[in-house]
Structure formats: C-alpha cells, structure tokens
Symmetry: D2
C-alpha cells in the first residue's frame, strides 16, 4: 500500500507539532513536506523549534527542511495548524492549487461551503466540499477545541430528545493557547476568567455542527447557548460544566443510555473504539486521569444530575490538542479518504 | 479601652489559624483561650500545629496552652472553626453556658433561630438571636465560603431589580478544603469537578441570607439556583461564573451602578471601605491579583455582559478563608458588639 | 507458558497501584492475591481505594477481594509496596513462609544479607539471597526513588574513572510521598526544602549498590555523598543536580561516552532498551518531557559541564514511581526468574 | 520636606512595575517621569501595560504619559529596569547627562568603576562612584536576583570564618524571567534545569560584592563557587541549597550566631529591621511562607547542618523581585541619599 503524501502547515507551533506526532507511522499518510513562517524557512525542522511533545521526534522529520507555505506537487493533503492571522489566504491558495486542506484554524469554519466536521457527529457534512469552487482542491475544517467535546456530548441528546438551551462554563488547559501562549506568571496559583474570542465560537459553532445538510446547505440547529470560558493551570484537557434543557422529558438512565449507545467505532486508523464514555464516579472525569484515554481521542462525561434551572447538568472533558484539534483534523482526513473524496486510492 | 476576651475553637485548623491571625492586634478583642481536639490539648499552640499563615505568629499565642473544647469564664466570645463532625454539639454547649458563639461551621446555619449573616448584606438578621433559648449565650453563623461572595454580588440586584434565577459555576481554591485537605497528587495539573456537599449549600444558603426578617422568622428569598462546584489548583480565592435572570429590565450601566453604590463602609475594625468592586478590564477579577484587596475583605466582580440564556453574566471572586470564612465571622462579632448585642460594653 | 502467581502487598497505596498497573498483562506474572491494611480487608479492590493510575484498572483486579497480609499458597512472589511502619515484620514473615519478597520498602535495604538491586547496575548482588536464612523464601529490595537514577548515572563513571565525591540536590515529585502525601496547600506555588529521612538514604544506599560482592558480603564503594532533598510541584519525575569528583581525569566526551555505552538491554519484559540516555539540549532533561521515555524506565542525563568545585556537574531525571520504585522492583523479579533463583520455571 | 523627583526606565516590565509599586508613597522619592520602549511611548501608563502587582496602581501614575528613554530635567534619579539588550547605552547616556542611574540590569555590574551593591553587605563600595567619569551623574548597580540572597547569607561567614568554597543549586521563581517570561506550558508540572547566563552570574558577582574596596578598586574576594540554576513552578521567591567550606572551624551555634547578629537595621525607608532571619523549623524557609517577610526585604535561612563534602549546608530564600531586584535597587538609592552622594539634600 502506497501512502498519501501530506504536508503540515504551521509545523513549528503547538498544533503543528501535534500533527507531526500523530502522523508519525500513520498507516495511510506520510509527511513529505513541512511549511512554516519565514523565520523558520530553510532551517532543519529540529533547529526551527523546540519539540514539546511527549514522544520523541523521528530523525527523518527532525532533518526535513522547512519550506515556505506554497503549494507543491510533493503532497496531496495539507494539514493546517496555521495561526489565524495568515491561515485564511494560505489555505485558499492551497485549495485553489488542488490541495485537500484539513484545517484546524478558525478562518473558514463558518464559510457556507466549508464543512465544519467531527467525523463521529456530522461526517455527512463533508458532502459540502462538492459545492466548493476548487478543482480537485477543498477545505475541510474541524471545530474549536472547546466545541468538539461539547458537540460530541450533545449530539446523542439532540438526536434522541432534542436540545433547547445550553449553559456551558469551560476550564481550559494552557496548551489551548499555543506556544508560548499563557505566561506562567499569569496562570500559576490563578484562574483567568477570559479567553479572547472563545465564547463567541462556543455559542455559534455547535449550531452548524449539529445542523442538517439539506441539498447543498447546512441548516443550523436551533438552540441557545451561553458560554463562559476560563483558563486554568492545567497542561492538557479542557473541562466543562454543562447544563442542558431538552425538548422531551428524559430520566438520567435514558440520557446516559443515549450518550453511551450513540457512537460506533468508525474503524479509521485514528478513531477511538468508544468515542464517548460515561463515568459513574462523582469525582470524574478529570483532566489528569482521563484526557489520554484512547490516545486522547475519547470524550469523557460524568456527574449527570438534575439542574434546578435547566433540566440536566454534567461534567465534560476532552483532550484539547488531540480530540479537540489535531486528532479531530486527522480523523477528518481519514474519513475523506475512506469515503472516496480524495482521488488517490489507497491500494 | 478594655478588650473583650475571646476564645478560638478548632484553633489548629486552617480556619482556626486564620482566626488567630486576624485577631492578632485586634482593637476590640483579645485571645485568652484556645481550644482544639484531644490530640492537641495540653500542648503549646506552636507545638500542636504548623503555622501556615503568611504573617508571623505572635510569641504570646505561640506559647498558649491548648485547652479542651469546654466553656470557661476566661472569655466571652468563642470563634469556632471546628470541623462539622463535632461543631454542632460543642457550639450548643458553649451557647448554653452563656458564650457568644461566632461559628464558621455549617451545622447550625439553617437552624430557624440562628442568623446566617454577612454584615453588609443582612446584618438586621442578627435580631434572630433574641429568639434563641440561650441565656446570655447565642450562636451566630456566617455562610459557606462560596456563598458569601455570591450573596454579596446578588444583594444589590435583589434590592434594585429582583432576581429570579441564578446559574453559578465555582472554581474553588484548595485552602477551602482545610488542611491537609486536597492531596497535591490530585490537584496538580488537574481540575476536580466535585466538592462534597458544596452545591447543596450554594443552592440553599443564599435564599436565607437574602430573605426578609419578619417578626421572629426569616422568610427566604424566592429564586432558583443551580450550582456546579469545582476544585482548581489555586491556593486562595474562589472564582465563580454567574448568570442571573432579573425580575426587571436593566442595562449594564444600571447593574454596575447598583453593585458599586449599594455598599457603605460599616466602619468596623475589619470592614472593607469598598465591600464590592467592579473591574472594567475584561480579564479581571483574578484570584492572584485581587483576592487580597482590602486585606481580603473585598469582593470583586467583572465581565458583566449579556447572557443569551438568562439575562446577564459576570465573573466573581472572593478570598475564601478571609471574606469567605474567618473574616466574615469576625465582622459578625464586631457588628454584634457595635449593635449592643453583647453585654460587655467597650469602654 | 504458565504464569507465576504473584501477590501485591499494600495494594491500595501509590506504589501498590503502580505494581498492579505494571503487572497487568505481564507475560510472566499474574496477580492472584492482593493484600492491604485492615481497613481495606474483605472489600473489593475497587471499593477500597481510588484508582489514580493513568491506564484503566482491569475488571478482574477491580473485583478481587483484599486479603490480610498473611502468606498463602496462592502465590509465589510478593511485591511489597507496604508502608515502612509495617513492612519489616510482614516481609520477614512472608520470606519465612517461603515467599519471594520483592520489596520497595526501606526496612531491609541495608540488611547485610539482603540485596539492594538495580538490575542494570548490580544484578550480581542477587547472589546474596543464598546467604539468607529463609528456606525457599527470600527478600530482595530496590533502592529509594531518588537513589536509583543517581546510581544508574554513577555506575558507568565508577567503572571507567572511579568516583570520589558526589554532591546532589534533588527536586522531587509529589507522587514520591505516596497518597494523600503532600498537601496541595503546602506545595502549590512553593518548594519544601526538606523530606524526612531522604538525605540519609541518598547518602548511604549508593555505597551498597555500587559496592562489590565479595564471597557472601557487599564491600561498600568508598566515596562521600552530600545530599539536599527538596519537594517541588511536579506530579511525577525526580530531578537532581549532581556534581562529581572523579578519580581519573576525563573529558566530557569520555564521560558521555561512558554513560551511553555502559548499559545493555537486559531483554527482560520490563527492561528499557536504552537504560540511560544523554541529551545534548542544554534545557534537558525535564520531568514533563522525559519521565515517560521507555515507559518510565529510562533515566535521563543532560547538561554535563565542568564544575568549578568538584570535576563535573550534570542534570539527572528519573520517573520516581516507575524506574524509581515499582518498575525497578518488577525488573528485580524478572531478573530473579531469568537467573533461575525462583524455582518455578517458566515453560 | 521636598521629595527628590525620580524616573523609572523600562516602566512597563516586571521590574519596572515593581519599582513603581515600591516608589508609591515613598517618603523621599516621587515619580515624575516614566520611560519605556518605543511601542509604549506617548501612551498613558495604564494603557501601555497590564498591571501585575498585588497592590492597586495609583491614579496619578496610571495616567502619566510614557516618555522616550531620554534624560530630562524633570528628575534627578533614574531607576532602571531596562532589558539588558538596551540598558547599557541608555544608562550611560543618562549618567553622562548628570543623572543618578540606579540599575537592576546586568550590563554595567562588572565594570571596574561601577559599584555592585547590597546596602547591608557592601554599602562602602558606593565610594567607587567617585571614580566614574560622569559629572554629577553616576551608575550604581545591584546584583542578580539569585546572588543577593546568597551574598547576604555569606557575608557574616566571610567576616567571621572566611569562606573558601561554595556549592549552590537554585530553584528560581518564574517572575525572575520577567513578563511574559516562562511559558506556562513549559513550567506547569515541570522543572527546567537551565536558565541562560544565570550560573555565570552566580559564580562571579559574589566575588566582587564580597570584595574589599582598596583605594579606588575592588579587590575581589577569593573563593570558588559552583552553581546550578533551575526554574520551578513558583511565582515569587528564589530558593537555594547552599554548601560552604569555611576557612576556620565553626560549630552550628557559631554560624547561626554570626548570621543573625551580623546585620543592623540601616534605618532607611525601605530597609528591613532584620535583614537575615534564621529558622529553626527544618521545613523552613519556604517561598510561600517567607518571601514576603519584612515586605519582601528579609532573607531567610534554615536547615543548617553538616555537609559531608564541604563543611556546612543550608537552605536559603529571598524574594527575587523585591529583595533580589527593585527593593535592593531602591535601598541603594536611599543609601546614596543618606550618605550624601546625591547633591539635592532632603530638607
């Protein structure tokens, strides 16, 4: 089987490094090209950044030369961890040149013809790429790191009971701010009750993700979300306290049942066997204990109980740089391949 | 002026140490007696605990001998930082012997004839002590550490607009769990989405505090509260994300105006000049920056903005062991003295 | 191949849990018996503790009933993570009944007839068990968690150049104190410059480990060690700053060469391929980045440079609960099996 | 009494903010001018930085306009918290224009004619300013943040016993790296065993500080220092583990006696009553408990005990941004005034 050559855009940043880690020894994809901003171009990868992942960097990637962010015929798919200051135009240019752009950046997420996809939740939305203006190329995005876990917890409720209202308070890990990101002086012994632009994303992206593909458009799901986003002294793993108002009556057994029976293993190289797990222990889930389950791809829920204001409340956890970013993007690429959207067939 | 002799109950614990710190050099009160559990009795205070406060322990207190938790005629007021396992009975015994018990424990908070008081919010509730069965003695309590800041932020809204619904998610400091409290293995690089018994207190105590004294009873304030309580890796200072539904329309200017103009300086030895401060900077308040304002007695609010679900949301901070525990208790005692509830007159 | 039945003593504690995690799916050993203190006896394992390891607890172990710490014929080897208050006697009793006791406790480490072993360093010391008075049974210990990494870094230097003096300052993770161990109130935003009994161990145990087996005795290695031990806000991974005075002249190339060429893969189920790794990057090693290399069994060294006082200094890291405790103990057991000290042969 | 007008150079940085905090309500000095880099110039101070100190910023300073780093006749003394990239030239320019430059930057510390002063240790070195080429102007520096505490602990030993060798391992707070300084991703749950340029400073600056002023030169003190510097997850307060070899025999009583009797209160506005305190409790000193003693100006020592390698070892703590930076610089300025080196007399 010949692997599909892929490129990592923004390879030196936090998401870029995670892409490189996850793409190492991937059965379908092989990194053949890495791009980053001007100050890194021409350098060996190992000299252009400090490797901050837990697993060692392979010699091969360490010695690759960083290229400018310009399309080339050395790859078919580009995984983008670019900063949103530059991602918009570069990703369009790549798509125009016939590249499949799998982007973790926010720039095109809400574009009408761009699918905003979590494979287990709305893989059918990928069909939107057919409405894109690019010949051979396309742009596919995944949601914000706080939204992915939330949408995965809500999807079973939407399908079985309907959801009217959501109140969500996040406690987000510092890795979500990239590198160097949050100053240690600001977060040690502290909580920062504000993350720029984050609440807006949490209040809007789920509506598109949970929406319905209708011909060539997504009809957004109708519900109201209120979000308050905080930064806490955690390395990896976003926690959230969620309250929901359902459209139909439900008891806690039904809800746990809905959550735990909804998801199937997609049987892709990076898909978790159990995408959503419910914990009975009232102290769970916790970032340190559960963020790495299923290699960081499992979303954890616990503490389901009555909410005196809305109907139900629960605690939610997902690994923000894996499930909530690079891992979800990679899964999008795998699903595109499996569904045949990418021409090169794996043989 | 002769000082009133006071006792600290549970003097070796976290709240007890804070009582001792705050009572040092107090203009009205003087510690003459310290009590703790059996294993500390008979020891010098300095040999019975490790002093964990930031300011040095005075030589005088350091060398006081720890007594059993039994009333004595060496003091008039007893500040109780006792564990709730034993506080109930001991506090009653003290009150029966004619002592003024100022308790931070939860045991008697919801008793019909026991005032649950934050001086700036509902000092008039102290009148309840006249309904108590104790001759000369009395029990006065202050609320849970997470409730005090919340009630102080809500009181102006209750008075000006009326409040119908509240959604609150707390991120609480480890000092709130006492000592040794939370294991470092559990909280470093982590969030624990559960604190035993805490949500129940947050959902009920504010109703009594914000209630109305009517003859000899408190009519609870009618509103619905939903709480989710989390432990985070912060030493001191409880944060909360609060959403409120008001009874009347209000704009943000009105709300900030209500919050900042409501409170007057009580002009007690431990009262803050500005009990509640509003911060315009959207990153504020934060535990590390604002918990110690006005010696830890000021409550901080910021980020007031529309809530898509209820009406308004904001961030809230208070120092949990000062404003939220020992400092509030001390203020209760000062108010009792000023209002003449305690017979010894300061001369 | 039939697995050897084993027991975990002190199964609910931090080291006990790590033993259980490492013994899950072990190719040679199978847990058939778990023991703990009286308050846990008779309970299912899952009900007697909170599982704090990162990987899920197997159903089988979760439902095993905790037994008293008494020998039984249901196992051959006992892995002891017992508290040192009780370990001494229990371990002797087990050895007397013919059990192979693999202990992480300090009690018997310095006994003349008890080997204190790190397999890669002084596996030959296991021969000492033949001098023990137990029929069939034996006691084998591994060193203190701070000592193991140190001894592994020193062994190549001892062999090639000889070592005269060592100055070591440790910065130790909280997991080394067991559970609940260090209070979060004490360690957040703090360093504690004292760990009870630790400096004594660091100054004595290496002499035995690096000593020479001579007939039936260990002749301790002659050198002088000065240790200062600190606790820092790290979950796992003990750092140390080490200065050494060698007996022969050496340059940095020789030293790195000695360190990196000394160790061979023992080819045991739990042995690392590369027991000691040297990092060229002057910021390395670091607990967060390198503690988990080779499943926590690799020791990391970096920043070798001249010491103005002694000869050379370097930074050292090892995972304290894996390499420095349960992992090393397990390796001892594997080596005993391989060398034929344990009668049951694997077939 | 008319206050001396002063300027803060590099006013927006961590040290600059601390200068501004310490100079608020100073009895002798009044801030009349604040300078910072180009991107802040022309802005109000409050709009050019985020205030990160614990005490509120005064309205007056908040609204001052930031000026270019150019001398003016609006001030007499310039406190420099400039980055070392630019400090060298700017400080010289200021001195040439007749300003008294009190610098915390490293650039001129080792210049032959520049005093490197800790007032309590070597205030007599200020006499060096008379050898400077500047008319009216002068440059006075204070040592590196890790050196100040060390030199203060050593000075009594140098005077009474003589010191030959020092081994020091630091565990330094993140505030020492300025702002944003250390990335939270790098330091949470971690130790970084390297701080660029720090060990060189620790190994050289003490020799000058502890040296002897001989006519117009400092004869460096002769001793050998070996330093290993680490960054840990502490906000403020540098810890150090120090081993010393003395020239004369001493017992622990003599050493503690020497340390605690050496220093007198300089009776300056910012001088601590007790510059060096010895703690008997073997767990002390600790950053969280002792960094703020005497408003952060007291150095703490504890755990004096025999060192098997050198003679004695102890634990050492000082507040790095107060005692170790801005506070020491301010004390230098106060001493200059008191000794009459600055022409304007306070009347």
């Amino acid at each position: 089987m010949k692997k599909i050559p892929v490129c990592v855009l923004g390879a030196t940043g936090m998401v870029g490094q995670k892409f490189i880690e996850l793409l190492s020894n991937h059965p379908w994809f092989e990194i053949t090209f890495i791009c980053a901003s001007e100050k890194s171009q021409g350098k060996k990868y190992k000299d252009a950044m400090i490797w901050r992942m837990d697993t060692p960097l392979s010699e091969k990637i360490a010695n690759m030369i960083i290229e400018p962010c310009v399309p080339s015929n050395l790859f078919r798919i580009a995984f983008s961890g670019l900063d949103s200051n530059v991602a918009g135009q570069i990703e369009e240019d790549f798509a125009k040149s016939g590249k499949v752009v799998i982007s973790n950046s926010k720039n095109h997420r809400m574009d009408q013809d761009v699918p905003l996809v979590i494979p287990e939740v709305n893989g059918d939305h990928l069909e939107l790429v057919k409405t894109q203006k690019y010949k051979n190329g396309m742009i596919v995005t995944n949601p914000n790191c706080s939204v992915i876990g939330l949408a995965m917890a809500l999807k079973p409720l939407v399908d079985v009971f309907g959801v009217e209202k959501i109140h969500v308070v996040t406690m987000q890990a510092v890795s979500g701010a990239g590198y160097p990101g949050v100053s240690s002086f600001d977060i040690l012994d502290n909580v920062i009750p504000f993350i720029s632009g984050e609440e807006e994303k949490v209040e809007t992206e789920p509506l598109k993700i949970l929406g319905t593909l209708c011909n060539t458009t997504i009809l957004p799901y109708k519900m109201t979300i209120s979000a308050h986003c905080n930064r806490v002294a955690v390395v990896n793993g976003h926690m959230a306290c969620v309250s929901v108002k359902l459209k139909k009556n439900a008891n806690s057994f039904d809800i746990v049942q809905a959550m735990t029976s909804h998801y199937k293993d997609l049987e892709l190289p990076s898909s978790p066997k159990v995408p959503l797990q419910y914990f009975e222990d009232e102290r769970h889930p916790q970032p340190k204990l559960h963020r790495n389950l299923e290699k960081g791809m499992q979303v954890s829920v616990g503490r389901l109980r009555k909410c005196p204001l809305l109907d139900w409340k629960f605690a939610l956890l997902s690994h923000n740089t894996v499930r909530g970013a690079a891992g979800c993007a990679l899964l999008n690429a795998e699903l595109l391949v499996k569904k045949g959207y990418i021409k090169e067939v794996l043989k």
